[in-house]
Amino acid sequence: MEFYQSILLGFQASLQPINLLFCFIGVFIGTLVGVLPGLGPTGTMAILLPITFYAPPLSSIIMLAGIYYGSQYGGSTTSILVNIPGEPSSIVTCLDGHQMARQGRAGPALGISAFGSFIAGTIGVFGLMMLAQPLVRFALRFGPPEYFSLMIMGLIILIYLTQKSLIKAISMGALGLILSFVGMDIISGKIRYTYDIDELLDGIGIVPVVMGFFGIAEIFENLEFKGIRTLYQTHIKGLLPTLKDWADSIWAIIRGTVIGFFLGLLPGGGAPIASFVSYAIEKRISKHPERFGTGVIEGVASPESANNAASSGAFVPLLTLGIPSNVVMAMLFAGLLIHNITPGPLLLKNHPDIFWGVITSMYIGNVMLLVLNLPLIGLWVQITKVPFRLMFPIIILICIVGVYTLKNSVFDIWIMIIFGVIGYVMKKCQYEPAPLVLAYVLGPMLEKSMRQSLIISNGSFKIFFVRPISAICLGIAAFLLITAITGISKKKRLEVVKELQE
C-alpha cells in the first residue's frame, strides 16, 4: 500500500504544469543534443545548471534528468542515417542501423530504436523503483578486481563484433588499447606517449577519434566515386517497423533492457559498455550471427534498448547512495546539493517527493520522447533523399562543431581530421573500426582496475579468482574465447580443405 501511495505522491508532483514544462524542455534539448554528434549532455547541463539555481528543485532535476535520457534517444538518429554516432553509446547502432538505412529501411530502424528505447526506458524506471535498494548493494560489490574481469570479458566480446579478418580485428583492438593509454597515468602520475604535446595530457579523446574514424572516413570513401546522387540508392521502404520486425526484435529489446540496466548500475559502467555487450550477446545467441553487420533489426533494437536501460540504471547509485556513476550524474548531484538536498540513503526519508517525483517524471519523459521522436522519423527519412553533394558538407560541419564544443579546442579538430584520414586508409585495407573503438573505451578501466587490484592484493593475481563475481566474469570470458576459437578453427579447416581441393 505504501508503495502505491509513494507512486501517487510522485505523480502528483511530476504532473504539475511547471514540472511537465521543465520535463519537456529537458527531453527536447536532450534529443537535440543527442542528435548532434559530439555535443554531449554534460556540456549542455553545465551551461544550464545556473538556471536551476532560480527554479524549484524538483523541476530542475526533472529537466536535467530529461536532458540525459533524452540524449540517449537522439544519439541513434545520426548513427543510423549517416554512420556517425551522436553519442558514444550509439556507436554500435551504426553497425546495423546504417546498413538498414542503405537498404532503404531507415524508417524501421529509427522506429524500432525509438520504441526499443521507450520500452527499455520504462522498464528501467520500473526497475529503478522496485529494485533500487537491493541492486545498489550488488553494485557496490564491484571493486577493482571485478571491473578488471568485466573488461576482459568485454575485450573478448570484441571478437564477436567482427565480420572480416579476425587478425585484423584483434590488431585494431590492440591499437585501440594503445591509443587509450596516451596521457597522464592515474596510478603513477607519469605522462605517457604524449611526446610533449600538452593537449594530449588528458588522452586523445574518444569523440574526435570516433567522429573521424566513422564519420569523416566514411565521407571520404563516398566521395571517391562519381555519380552518387543521394545517400542511398534504394527506395524508402516504409516508415515504421513491420510486424516481422517487431517479432524479430522483441526479445532483443528485452535482453538489451536487462543487460543495460545492470551494466548501467555499475558506477563507471554505463551506456557505451552496455550497448556493446548487448549487441555482442545478441549476435552470439542469434540463429544467424553472420547476418549481423549487414542490417538486421535486432542489431539496432538491442543496443538502443541497452543504452536507455543503462541511463535509468545509472540513477540508482545516485538516488540511493549519493554516488554519481558518471559525469552526468555528478552534475545532477551538484544540482541537488544547490537546493539543499543531499542525495544518498536519507533522500528517500527526507525528501520522498523529490525521489518519487523524479522517478515518475522519467515515465512522463519517456512518453514525451516517444511522441517527439516518432513523427520526426518522417523528417529524418526525408533527409536521406537529400543529394549527397549537399549533405556531406553539412555533415562535416556538424562533426567539426560537435568535436569543438567538447573542450573548445582546435586540437580536437585536428585529431578528428587525422583519424579521418587513418580511418579512410584502414577501410580501404579491410580493417574494421569497431574493435578499435571498443578497445579504446575499455582500455583505461582495464588498466586502472588491474593496477588498483594488484596494489590491493599486494601483487597477487589470486585476487581475480578468489572473489566470486570476478571469477564468474573471467569464466564467461574464457568460455567465449574457447567457443570463438573452436568456431574459427572449424572455418579454417574448411578453408584449408577447399584450397587443397582446388
Partner: protein, 322 residues
Amino acid sequence: MKTGMVVFFMCFVIFFGLNAMAAETAYPTRPIEMIIGFAPGAGTDMGARMVAEQSKQFLGVDVVCVNKPGGAGRVAMTLMSKAKPDGYSLGATTSSCIVASPHLESVPYKLEDFTYINQYGTLNFGVSVIQGSPFKTFKDVIEFARKNPDKLTVGIVGVNTTDHIALQALALSENLKIRFVPFDGAAPTMTALLGGHVMVVSTASSGYAPHVKGGTVRLLVTYGEERMEQSPEVPTIKEMGYPSLVIQSWYATYGPKNMETSIVKKLEDAFGKAMMTPEFKKVADHFEIYTKKPLFGQELTKALSNHYKNNGELYRKVGLIK
C-alpha cells in the same frame, strides 16, 4: 564646400576621439572568458561558475565559463600562461597546480607566469571510513598500520595530490608501510570505500561531505588548521600530533602575467562582491569550500609563493624530489 569638408573632418576626429576614450575608460567592454581546468560538476567548476554568474552584475558583462579539463588542471594552466593579459582571458584552478605540481613534474609554466586575482574557496581534506569500520579514531588507523605493515589500504584521489603527499610524509616519519590505491575522482574513491574494497580513504570535502551528511561514512580527521564548522567533533591532524601535515589548498582565479593593475583591481572587487552574495554562499556551504577570509591579489600571490617554498621543503624531506 570647404566648410562642409571642415565639418566632416571634425566629426571624423570627434568620432575617433570618443571611441578612443571609450576604449580606455570602460573595462570590460565585452564578455570575459573564464577557463576552468576541471570537468563540469567538480568543486573547482561549481565554485568558479558561481563566482562568474554572480559577478556579472558587478562587472556589467557576461563572464563565460569554459571547461578545458586535462592533467588535473595542468592543460588549462599551460594554455593560460600563453594567453593575452588583456583581462578577457581568465582562469580558475586549484592551488596545487601552482604550488605542488611544478615541483614534481616538468610543467611549462611557473608561479610567476600568472597574476592572481582572488581565492574563492578552500579545499578541505579529510580521512574517512565506512560507518561500520573497526577504526574509531585516526590513532586506530595508525596503530593498525604499525602492527600490520603493508596491509592498510588507503584510497586516494590521484597520485601525489596534496593529501597523498601528507600521508606519505606521515608514513615516513612513523615508519609505516601503507598501500595507497589511487582513483581518478572523489566519487570512485568513495564508492570503493562503501563497497569495502579499501579500508580508509583520504579525499577533499566534495568527496566525503555528502556521505557524512547521509550517515554512511565517518570522518576521522581533517587536515586544516582548525576544526571544520560543519563537523566540530572531528579533530584536526594538528591536534593528533602532526602539525607539519596541515594542508592548505585553495580554489583561485587568475590571469596571465602582466595584467594591468586597474583591471585586476576591478576584478578583485567584482569577484569579492560575488562571493558575498547569498547564492554563492549556499553553493560554497554545500561543497564545504567556504572561506571566511579569502585572500586577494598581492596577499594571495605572497601566500602562494610561501606555499611553493614550503612544499619544496616537504617534498625533499619525504624523498619525493632530490
